[in-house]
Symmetry: C2
Subunit: 421 residues, 2 copies
């Protein structure tokens, strides 16, 4: 087992991103060329790269429009790539959604709509239902976030205030055949959750959406209440004939990326252990649990004997109290550094597979047993930086940021902890 720890972790992250790269995972899932037209639409952080992968491998004429996040575009020839606001929707995304919706209307059963869906698509494809304004949607969204409503309750309300979600995009395309290729960034990989399921039936109802607003005492304006009381608020239900020609295909998931990284560790001679692909929670507390498991491996050969790599995915959160810089992966890794306190034999990497940790220019960072000492030697205190939420500043100071630029895909966060004796 002669491997460089840092390089192994970087190779594992590359493999995780690579497994979700549209260039690799779109072509095998492309359907046969239809007799009629092929329209490509889509939204998400990977939409640009997915559109390019389609163009590069499609055996006939093609046209369409996809919307992605600012900075995540890709150079397409036939498919228009629009960049728009994320996570806060903006007018660019709204106009793109309107054009996408009209583009798939009036098709025949000979035509094909390829729908390219990935994480971030919900904000990028924000088109309020007729009679509801973007401002209305945003106000209700904010109130829901504060209310303590569950994610599924919030999604239920959102879908019933949208003109494109909850299967409506696919319904608009009927009788054309619809193939949706999806890259998941959500726990459980439920297709009706990714980008709020524009091509997927929604079992929830407008009446339930109204009940949720009442349950959390959310004051909605009269026009919103009127909309939710009208038949056109209803999403497409399972079994709806307008969805009969739709195939939703999951082409990449957090799990498949963790598995790809695990294979890299295994072939380097370090036993991989995937703990979970969808870990949530405050980044610094999630780090404490990872630190304890890494120490357990070092001290007791449990849950696995070294050399081993503990792998996890999912999205942590950061409660910002300080004034420092950094996304949730830098915060996780700095908290891990403080908890491990220079423990010998333990290296780690934490990074966002989309290449952007929060709002910084790094994907994440790497940690070595000597990181804290190297930082201290130049006057950078790990504990103080953690208290200031300054993970970016800490790892930047010791040259241990991982910088990739936007990867044009997104299967959520990637964490790997290498334990050696």
């Amino acid at each position: 087992m002669a491997f460089d720890p840092r390089q192994l972790l970087l190779n594992m992250f590359d493999a995780a991103v690579g497994a979700a790269s549209p260039e690799r995972c779109v072509p095998p899932h492309l359907p046969p060329r239809p007799a009629g037209r092929t329209i490509v639409v889509g939204a998400g952080k990977a939409a640009g790269a997915m559109a390019k992968a389609v163009e590069d491998h499609w055996p006939g004429p093609i046209e369409g429009l996809v919307v992605t996040r600012y900075g995540h575009g890709a150079p397409c020839r036939a498919i228009e790539v629009v960049e728009a606001g994320h996570p806060v929707p903006d007018a660019a995304g709204r106009e793109a959604a309107e054009r996408i919706l009209s583009m798939v209307q009036g098709l025949t059963a000979d035509d094909l709509v390829l729908c390219l869906i990935s994480g971030g698509g919900s904000s990028l494809l924000a088109l309020p239902a007729p009679g509801v304004s973007l401002t209305d949607k945003q106000a209700i969204n904010k109130a829901l976030l504060k209310s303590g409503a569950t994610i599924s309750e919030m999604n239920c309300v959102r879908k019933h205030l949208s003109a494109i979600k909850g299967g409506r995009l696919a319904a608009a395309a009927a009788p054309a055949r619809v193939v949706a290729l999806m890259i998941s960034d959500v726990p459980g990989d439920d297709p009706c959750v990714i980008a709020s399921g524009p091509t997927v039936a929604d079992p929830t109802t407008a009446a339930e959406a109204l009940a949720i607003l009442r349950k959390y005492a959310i004051a909605a304006p009269d026009n919103v209440l009127a909309h939710l009381g009208s038949p056109q608020a209803e999403t497409l239900k399972p079994g709806d004939p307008r969805l009969a020609g739709v195939a939703n295909v999951m082409i990449a998931t957090p799990q498949s990326s963790l598995e790809a990284a695990a294979a890299v560790a295994r072939s380097a001679g370090a036993t991989p252990l995937i703990l979970a692909n969808a870990i949530e929670g405050e980044a610094r507390d999630v780090a404490l649990v990872h630190a304890a498991i890494a120490r357990q491996s070092y001290d007791f050969d449990q849950p696995l004997a070294p050399p081993c790599v503990l792998i996890s995915g999912g999205e942590t959160t950061v409660t910002v109290r300080g004034t420092g810089r950094g996304g949730r992966n830098a915060e996780f890794l700095l908290a891990l550094a403080v908890a491990l306190d220079g423990h010998p034999g333990i290296h780690a990497l934490a990074a966002d597979t989309d290449g952007i940790d929060g709002t910084e220019d790094n994907a994440g960072a790497v940690l070595a047993p000597d990181s804290i000492a190297r930082a201290a030697a130049i006057g950078v205190g790990a504990k103080a930086r953690l208290a200031d939420n300054d993970g970016y500043g800490f790892f930047s100071a010791i040259g241990d940021l991982v910088v990739t630029g936007p990867t044009r895909t997104n299967v959520n966060d990637f964490r790997a902890i290498l334990v050696r004796c």
Copy 2:
């Protein structure tokens, strides 16, 4: 594998507590009877039960005094058991510490001091150094807790303000032989940390203690500074001849209890996986990580295929924001319940091995897939109770508290999550 999930989890908890029970783990480690006197002293949540175990198995005359927490006493014949304040030291503990210190003085090399040390001993054996008042110590302790000082920094200061810690109890007993039997409740099982090491050499110095007070700008009164500048502030250093006759023996640890519980799971046909014996962090976030790992087992047979039991130890914390009741184990389990949201096939137990979760009358609680639904049916909302830090109220309402009373030992928290297909 025909087992009742709830009963299996309760059996595992019983095994974890049983493995650390003084009645079981003290007798095998008792030294031979000395030519001279045998004095028993000690402190900690297990001190009463440890004293009783010594009495029950000692082949000769015996005398002594141990101090334990209110409610944790045991009916001894020859050894006096004093109950005192924990976690806030009180006069009863201070007086007991004074008596213990004088009791071990004036012994000969033919005599034996059996020192019974367990978690909680640090508060129960709080004897300030001459010239330092209990009020001084408490004020500095509070300031340290707020300062962001590490545990080892706090212990360094505490030991140098004490008349009994940092090896001083053993030094007072010289030239008598000292055998310290220890039950660990701390990460890493370091004997100089448990009860602040009254029989263990301390590598830190009074000068370091002073530097820590300066580092965190803690204003100490003149008498405290004078003490820290004097030679008698120094703790016993490794290699000190006064510690030559001391044997420190770890007779129970969190790890040994987790292993005992794992054996119970294994013989019931559920594969155990010990994640870590010393997990720290905010209880509700630690629960989110455990929930994600349990789901991963259910969905992907990773890190282990069902039927399996994920086991962990260590002490979480609770940031109280609500007005409800409950210790950290109830909080953990309620957060786990909310995260799993009635997930089929997953049962769990979380409880404190000392039998007291926080300041309540329960050790912990158990969780079943139908817990949330049973609570909802009687108007008890899991999410609302979690927001109110009311884990006790939630599990009490559905009759799922685990109540043992004080177990008279302490190897920290015990958590087990059973996953079945």
